[in-house]
Symmetry: C2
Subunit: 247 residues, 2 copies
Amino acid sequence: MLSKNQIKLIRSLKQKKYRLQHQLFVIGGKKTILELLNSELKLHQLYTTTLDFDVSDVLQTIITPNELHKISFLKTPNETLAVFNIPKPQPIDHNKLILALDNVRDPGNLGTIIRLCDWFGVKDLLCNLETVDCFNPKVVQATMGSIARVNITYLDLESFLSNQKGIQKFGAFMEGESIYSMELPKSGILVLGNEANGITKIIASQITERITIPRFGNMQVAESINVANAAAILLSEFKRGTRTTET
Amino acid sequence: MLSKNQIKLIRSLKQKKYRLQHQLFVIGGKKTILELLNSELKLHQLYTTTLDFDVSDVLQTIITPNELHKISFLKTPNETLAVFNIPKPQPIDHNKLILALDNVRDPGNLGTIIRLCDWFGVKDLLCNLETVDCFNPKVVQATMGSIARVNITYLDLESFLSNQKGIQKFGAFMEGESIYSMELPKSGILVLGNEANGITKIIASQITERITIPRFGNMQVAESINVANAAAILLSEFKRGTRTTET
């Protein structure tokens, strides 16, 4: 049974200002919740419509499907909903590859990029303050559990970059050096920009290496690739050399 | 001014069976429509709420914003909507890299994959019959105009693959040879599977090379990457060697 106040709290977490105020975020779906319960994230509340959600040592509140529908942000809520504490960002490791986002606005893109960081072992993801909030329910859902395994820090990206001396700062542009012909280092900062407008001028001025993914199609027309796909290709390029010797 | 029959026809094109029956599809947004008008696609009708949509030699029907709202599939329709003829698939070029999809269901993923084919110069995209229809409005929108530049063929993928002798058939699996340590050819067929379940057994039996994108994160947990991101990384790997000499 849910109280009115509980419903009000959970529903409020759809909005960033209430997530910040309560330092809580919501996630739906058994599979992802199980992953998050096995992570370092701290559970606040777990609500489920099913008695067979098998997690020992976790206090569950049994609710009705109707109650679940009231608190879920999904159109077809999936039996279980959890509220977790927003983790404190950890110190950034400057000796590894760091990914930084400048004005990425689409929740699906950010979620996918977090999942890619997890896949490619990128521990630190930096987001400028205009990038969509990573605890937005759509982002959390799109990360498929990876939100628990990537250290995400929101910061003034320009001032952060300007303070990083002696580190290569790569920026993905439509024009730049081909990533296929460069020797990419194991550490450095890789910056990706907004879906429609790319990297902003103010951030571009901090970039030390302008890089590009070469286009193989009709040069006249194929306009761009999606920022999450660009992240996929670039992270793959940065990491491939660290694993195998090129043939 | 739109007739009731015109409204009925356009709205019906949201459904695959009516698209097949009329051999027409719908696209919204000035920028993409301009791209498509410059392609080999044949325009059927163009509807616009603005007098300044500058396309000469094209018959435009001026409509009201209210009428546009009635025929558009977008929540916030963008001034202009066009109906194009569905193009006839062209013969498949077996001497180049061909991408094939086995049960890709998400319209956004298919749209993004079409855009990637365009970027990487992959002319032929094959879809098994259960893959989402490429003229679904959400797919067309996500291709950002690339729908006009990729030859998409829906077919019985198993029987097609079994008839291809002497061609390498690559399949993306969770377990397989690392794409970073393989020599990838300029021609061949690359198969990607369903978002949740990967390549079906029946198609897997036709694959000659099982390949995988190595994982760099925590082996225990990072589960998978999105199929469009896998397409991005794999197409990049197939194409990178054709452009530059490895260092």
